[in-house]
């Protein structure tokens, strides 16, 4: 069922090119992700309905929907999601990245197949929970945290109210009677110390270490005659929605919708998702998707320049996707950009007195591909790399896969000798060498077309101040010539690969899984069909198609290879 990521995409680009296919095309490439997810057997858990908490099987959806239901496993909150979640739950600011194990970027930071519970996680989560509990019970926040005023240190009714309200929000589902009884017994802590808030403190700590807080747990209801697929309940759908659109926990309004059964059909989900997209958190989340996807979440520049570049791209995303509701493609076509004086000077644009929008004019820049954020991504350590920029465009924006170099190639030998210009060097080394040209012809010519922009996004006429190496700036994508980010953007928009690739990347981010299978492709294809495989599409509409697609309300147990 699971396909190697490589094989499909090789077919996409390799068909006529004869690009090198080496031993890396074996499954060991994708096998590197299998850490921690041991071999899973279909038969092993089919006995006794252990996958259900609700017992009674429900009617399955039509077969064409079932074919679009992807695998979903336990997903730990990333450090960024953790911080956002406790901010929304309690108004508390913590930097979870200081204490939680590092989240891998592949390129997204939420691939659950890379997550392995460790002592460092358990201890970090415990310390974070203790920090959060302390902060949430400081005088300014305490009343909001608890929600009622205890009549005395052992006011069990107020404690139950708190547990009912906060427990539901922390666990993203109602507290069961058993939960309330067990957590309610913590009032003994208040009896011991004479301080009601000591009991609250312990309850917050426990709930923030609860596996249903730390992980997004989906169980669902079994389907009649379909052993591996489960229908998510409304709360599970609410959680999927909120982490997809907000990168954070459902609020009371969303949980209320779930409680009222409002998320058990695509119409209800769409309605909820539309409201959620109006929230500020959606901007941050969608900005973060782009930053992880295109590689500018962190930038290798000083803080001022990095921050200005990230703000520039976020401002464009806010304007195109949210404020003006323009087609997503306008991110690539914008003829103005949001800069501060530092960044304007860096680009050679007129410096605004306040950070603001400046027209590109005749500079040759247009849209996101001319942002320093994008142009810094996948650079070499101290220069742009035409090859790596080609990889960036092919793999991230066209969702093609380029095989790694054959084992005998020294990938560090990319420094031209003194007196040789870089472009000539690349052409000699890569494009005139029989073993190299087939793959490098897919990458380097894309990078050549961006060479007038260095690895910081600054414009240049010559290579690294060497007047004898004038940059041609002439590039090529699949046989079509271009020069500069603006023309490359047009080619990408016309390539027919872009729309599906955006959906594919969003799917990886939404599902928390880099490696895709046939059922995942079916989901992506279905959504792409709704939004158009070519021509303009609206990113908010794409998000809504995801959320309200029937298959989004189901999950598949991970299956054996």
């Amino acid at each position: 069922m699971r396909r190697a990521l490589l094989s499909l995409s090789l077919a996409t680009i390799g068909g006529s090119s004869g690009c090198y296919v080496g031993t890396d095309a074996d499954p060991s490439l994708s096998g590197t992700d299998s850490n921690g997810v041991g071999p899973d057997s279909d038969g092993a858990d089919s006995s006794g309905g252990t996958d259900s908490d609700t017992g009674e099987p429900t009617e399955p959806p039509p077969p064409e929907v079932l074919e679009r239901v992807g695998d979903a496993g336990l997903r730990r909150l990333t450090a960024v999601e953790y911080s956002a979640t406790v901010r929304d739950l309690l108004g508390v600011e913590v930097d979870a990245a200081l204490l939680l194990p590092e989240d891998w970027r592949q390129p997204f930071d939420n691939d659950y197949t890379t997550q392995n519970a460790s002592g460092a996680l358990i201890d970090g989560a415990e310390l974070l929970a203790s920090d959060v509990a302390e902060l949430a019970l400081e005088p300014g926040l305490r009343d909001a945290t608890v929600g009622c005023t205890p009549a005395g240190p052992t006011d069990a009714a107020c404690f139950q109210d708190f547990l009912t309200q906060f427990g539901r929000r922390a666990l993203r589902r109602p507290m069961s009677d058993d939960d309330l009884a067990r957590y309610g017994a913590l009032i003994s802590e208040a009896e011991e110390t004479g301080d009601f808030y000591d009991a609250v403190n312990v309850a917050i700590r426990a709930l923030l270490q609860h596996p249903e807080f730390l992980y997004r747990v989906e169980v669902g209801t079994p389907l009649d005659g379909v052993p591996d697929v489960f229908a998510l309940n409304d709360y599970e759908v609410a959680t999927r929605l909120s982490y997809l659109i907000w990168g954070s926990t459902p609020n009371d309004a969303l949980l209320d919708r779930a409680e009222a059964g409002g998320l058990s059909n695509p119409e209800g989900i769409r309605e909820a998702a539309e409201d959620m997209l109006l929230d500020e958190r959606a901007r941050i989340r969608i900005g973060r998707f782009h930053a992880l996807w295109l590689g500018y979440e962190t930038l290798p520049h000083g803080p001022d320049l990095s921050t200005a570049m990230q703000a520039e791209t976020q401002a464009l995303i806010d304007r195109v996707i949210f404020d003006d509701a323009l087609p997503w493609q306008d991110l690539l076509r914008s003829d103005a950009t949001y800069v501060d004086a530092t960044l304007a000077e860096h680009y050679g644009l007129p410096a605004p007195t306040q950070p603001g929008w400046v027209d590109y004019g005749e500079t040759g820049r247009r849209g996101l591909l001319s942002h320093g954020s994008f142009l810094s991504s996948m650079s070499k350590i101290d220069d742009s790399s035409p090859t790596k920029r080609g990889i960036l465009v092919r793999t991230r924006m066209m969702c093609q896969v380029i095989p790694p170099p054959p084992p005998t190639v020294d990938v560090d030998m990319t420094e031209p000798e003194e007196g040789t210009c870089k472009e000539d060097f690349y052409k000699q080394q890569h494009l005139n060498a029989p073993g190299c040209v087939s793959c490098h012809a897919l990458m380097d010519p894309i990078g050549f077309g961006l060479e007038n922009y260095d690895h910081t996004g600054a414009f240049r006429e010559v290579e690294n101040d060497d007047e004898s190496c004038v940059i041609s700036g002439e590039g090529e994508l699949d046989g079509r010539a271009f020069s500069g980010p603006s023309e490359l953007s047009e080619l990408l928009i016309d390539s027919g690969a872009l729309n599906r690739c955006v959906a594919e990347q969003l799917y990886r981010f939404a599902m928390g899984r880099s490696e895709l299978a046939t059922v995942d492709d079916s989901f992506i294809d279905f959504v792409v069909e709704q939004n158009g495989a070519e021509g303009d599409f609206d990113f908010s509409a794409l998000m809504l198609s995801f959320a309200s697609e029937e298959a989004f309300r189901y999950r598949r147990n991970e299956t054996a290879e």
Partner: protein, 490 residues
């Protein structure tokens, strides 16, 4: 003058969690415990750097003289400064073999350089491919913990000093940020290090109760609350298990195991500290994590980018590791000082405005300047590893011996210098020829005649690890690498 201090076992097992009676500890009262039962300790350090500079056919690590009383050059200068030469042996001329994918030899690495030597170095098992940097066998601190751990609070401690990868767009360390792996029934599972000094401190001193009665009461009630919370969470996790599919069950089982481990640690209340075992001062909030610096941006290095006060982090984590051994809270540990292909800013460490990796590539200049800078980078690691040697040496066990007498510790470097099969260069730093490993401690007759320089042409660095394990009484060969360096024991 070394200050001898008394090591002690400090843990009391609270039978009902917090039934805290703290009897005078008889085991501390003198000779009753002398001799045989002193536990062995094992430690492994890792530095993400090679040891020389392009075009040089030597390094400033390898002494000229063989045997005891070896001469000390720039890269090992801290060994002289700390006065620990008698405790540290230097094994040189080691080599990790290499091969192309599909023909990587036993204990070997993929010919692609960066981070591919780490897997065979730490596990003794060959790396898989050019696209995989993870180890394929259990690592030595985990193996040591299984045999030495006993009922210590932490079977092993794995810390990392370098707080972030510091390089590239959205760069994360990935496998470059880990040196700890365990074997779970044939699946090799990476184990995240603790990289927060604050977390390491809180985790290590969980059960310590201050002597002042009021403070002790507060500490005990804090422990009780933590335990109450974890008890509830354990119940929650167990009940969740029954509702999960197979793969999720496996994930939650691992989480539950670690949670049970925390519960166990919360049950173990330490006795009042005495002798050398003491509650260290709280290191406070962690230094903030620094941002990336662009290569060549001298100003960026000078203004302190790519740096999260690793100097302070290394100091705190070393102090904690030493105290963990002293108090017998753990008997096995590892410290990843820097990640493979280390992009840590060298400027705050020793005034070279570049990162550690780039020092080996003309980051601050070539020739002697470059070689000296790389050597200073090596020396920075040796200094912190050496501080641990010094601390253990200066801690006295119950029978009057030094804690180091019961310890074996090694220091591994990502690379050496010499032939780079990838480029064909004869004198490259992208090379696993001419590697060196430091090994200290006197457990099991190790370094019986003091620190020596031993040349072992063509030997594998993991053979030094095998020797360290042998010294602490563990007859184990790392992965595919057999043999020990017998001269270390004679």
């Amino acid at each position: 003058m070394p200050r001898f201090r008394l090591s002690r076992r400090s843990l009391l097992r609270g039978t009902a969690g917090f039934a805290m009676a703290l009897p005078a500890l008889e085991i501390m009262s003198g000779t009753a415990h002398a001799g045989a039962d002193i536990p062995k300790r094992y430690f492994v350090g890792f530095a993400g750097t090679s040891t020389s500079f392009p075009t040089f056919d030597y390094d400033l690590l390898k002494p000229d003289a063989l045997g005891a009383g070896y001469d000390i050059k720039r890269a090992l200068q801290p060994i002289a400064d700390l006065g620990i030469r008698d405790e540290v042996s230097v094994v040189t001329d080691l080599e990790i073999p290499w091969g192309e994918e599909g023909s990587i030899p036993a204990g070997g690495r993929h010919i692609g350089w960066h981070a591919h030597s780490t897997a065979p170095l730490i596990s003794g098992v060959r790396s898989i491919s050019g696209s995989n940097e993870s180890a394929n066998g259990a690592t030595s601190e985990v193996i040591a913990a299984e045999r030495l751990g006993g009922d210590t609070l932490h079977p092993f401690l794995n810390y990392r000093v370098q707080a972030a990868y510091y390089r590239g767009s959205n760069g994360d360390g990935g496998d470059r940020g880990r040196i700890t792996y365990r074997d779970e029934g044939g699946s090799i599972i990476p184990v995240d290090p603790i990289q927060s000094p604050r977390l390491a401190y809180e985790s290590l001193f969980t059960g310590f109760v201050p002597p002042d009665p009021a403070d002790a009461a507060a500490a005990l009630s804090a422990l009780r609350r933590r335990r109450s919370a974890v008890d509830l969470v354990l119940e929650d996790a167990q009940s969740l298990m029954t509702r999960l599919g197979t793969a999720d069950k496996e994930r939650m089982e691992r989480h539950l195991d670690e949670l049970r481990d925390l519960e166990r640690r919360l049950d173990e209340v330490s006795a009042p500290t005495e002798g050398a075992c003491e509650l260290l001062p709280d290191p406070g909030e962690d230094p903030p994590i620094g941002g990336s610096v662009e290569n060549g941006d001298t100003g960026g290095y000078e203004s302190g980018g790519a740096y999260s006060d690793e100097e302070a982090r290394a100091t705190v984590l070393t102090d904690l590791m030493a105290m963990a051994f002293t108090c017998d809270l753990s008997r096995s540990g590892s410290m990843m000082y820097t990640m493979a292909q280390c992009f840590l800013n060298a400027n705050p460490l020793f005034g070279a405005a570049s990162d550690i990796h780039e020092l080996g590539h003309y980051g601050v200049g070539g020739g002697e300047v470059g070689l000296n800078a790389v050597s200073d980078g090596v020396a920075w690691h040796v200094k912190h590893w050496g501080r641990l040697v010094e601390k253990l040496r200066d801690t006295q066990e119950l029978d009057g011996s030094s804690l180091l007498d019961h310890t074996a510790m090694v220091m591994l470097f990502e690379g050496g210098w010499g032939f780079d099969p990838e480029s064909g260069d004869a004198l490259s730093v992208h090379s696993s020829e001419n590697m060196a490993v430091l090994i200290a401690g006197r457990a099991g007759g190790l370094n019986a005649i003091g620190g020596q320089h031993i040349s072992r042409p063509g030997g594998h660095p993991a053979q030094v690890v095998n020797s360290a394990l042998q010294a602490v009484g563990i007859d184990h060969e790392m992965g595919e690498v057999s043999g020990t360096v017998d001269e270390l024991f004679g």
